[in-house]
């Protein structure tokens, strides 16, 4: 019996340890926000060379384009709660893309590389919708793009 008890004890502590880790991870709840009310002021983003002529050794192939969005996020489910909102820009074709943006003040300006997300709002949710006009600038290497290419991003809510 004594031998059996000593075998059980490590198993018990192992279960406890897993339980603690699981509980900690479960606290961070991320939800995609309904942004169906968002409108683009331009139908597509016209990508142009950042510099009209290339460098002597090649490179200098950056293409940039801007677009303006009237962002409207439905944050009704989080009304009267403190939350953090992120702009999530998933890794996607055609490859590495960077986008930066300026706002009119409701959200924070910033920059994100594809495959990452960045905080754009932190604080209490006092209204059912959060709105702002965001002017985005996309940039990517011209060797990655030769035709119209859709890229997607979305807004995520982290609840405190």
């Amino acid at each position: 019996m004594a031998a059996s008890r000593s075998c059980l004890e490590p198993a018990f502590f192992l279960v406890c340890a897993f339980s603690i880790i699981w509980a900690s991870a479960a606290q961070a709840k991320t939800t995609t926000i309904d942004d169906s009310g968002t409108q683009a002021l331009e139908p597509s983003v016209s990508m142009r060379w950042q510099t009209s002529t290339p460098s002597r050794k090649g490179g200098a192939n950056l293409m940039i384009g801007t677009t303006t969005l009237r962002v409207r996020l439905n944050v009704t489910p989080w009304l009267h709660r403190a939350c953090r909102i992120y702009l999530d820009f998933p890794a996607q074709r055609p490859g590495a893309i960077t986008t930066s943006w300026v706002t009119q003040g409701r959200f924070m300006p910033g920059q994100v590389h594809s495959g990452n997300r960045v905080l754009i709002y932190s604080g209490p949710i006092a209204t059912p919708f959060l709105e702002d006009v965001m002017k985005f600038q996309f940039s990517l290497d011209g060797s990655l793009i030769s035709r119209a290419t859709p890229v997607t991003f979305h807004f995520e809510m982290d609840e405190d």
Binding site: T31, T32, I33, D34, D35, S36, T38, A40, P43, S44, V45, S46, M47, R48, W49, T51, S52, T53, P54, S55, R56, K57, G58, G59, A60, N61, M63, G65, T67, L69, N74, T76, P77, I97, F136, F138, L140, G142, S143, L144, I145, S146, R147, A148, T149, P150, V151, T152, F153, H154
Partner: protein, 216 residues
């Protein structure tokens, strides 16, 4: 016996509906379509050219319709003696419009350079061709084959292969004289010479070679 069980099922169903009710009505991701606009640009300069300033200072390419000349005057005593005659140009282009670097020397060299801008990963090189007449002619119709004119290629502080390599004109041909990899600046200085190994009729012989840059 069965009533409590059904009640349990109903309660679960109700909780399920309540949870769905808390979700936003329509979750979506925003899509922006990135569209390359007029991405292809070509620039070729043979002899003098025009930029609004050096490129690294924001200069932009301009049109320049100047036709430069390359010439040699062979002394009567030297005509046809087999000693190549250096040719000189009226071009004043010595500096690269890329950065203002003095790349060529005049009157001994003709600047040739440019670039080819395009998008996408699989891009072929742009070709520079020369439309070469069969011969230079004088006022009485005598001729000198264009193949008597050659050039060597170099550039101040240059090392390695030139984008516009040394060569000799091919009579009456559309001749490849160089290529440009996409999205890089390409330039060379051409030093022309006349072979002077035949004795043509006296006179002034002229001909025009037209250089063309063709993108894929």
């Amino acid at each position: 016996m069965h009533a409590p069980h059904c009640g349990n099922r109903l309660r679960r169903a109700f909780i399920g509906v309540a949870l769905f009710g808390a979700l936003p009505g329509s979750v979506s991701a925003f899509t922006a379509t990135l569209t390359p606009v007029a991405p292809q640009t070509v620039y070729l300069q043979v002899g003098v050219g025009s930029f609004t300033g050096d490129y690294i200072n924001g200069g932009q390419p301009q049109n320049n319709t100047t036709i430069n000349t390359v010439s040699a005057t062979v002394a009567a005593a030297a005509v046809g003696n087999g000693t190549a005659q250096a040719m000189t140009t009226n071009s004043s282009a010595t500096q690269s419009f890329f950065d203002g670097f003095t790349f060529c020397s005049v009157p001994g060299q003709v600047y040739i350079g440019g670039f080819y801008r395009t998008t996408g990963a699989n891009t072929s090189a742009a070709l520079v061709t020369a439309a070469v007449p069969a011969a230079l002619t004088n006022a009485t119709g005598s001729t000198i084959p264009f193949s008597k004119i050659s050039w060597t290629s170099s550039g101040n502080a240059d090392a390695g292969a030139e984008p516009f390599p040394s060569g000799t004109f091919a009579n009456g041909a559309m001749q490849n004289v160089g290529s440009m990899g996409s999205n890089s600046w390409n330039e060379s200085c051409l030093t022309f010479s006349y072979a002077n190994n035949t004795v043509p009729a006296a006179g002034t012989f002229t001909g025009v070679v037209l250089y063309t840059l063709s993108s894929p």
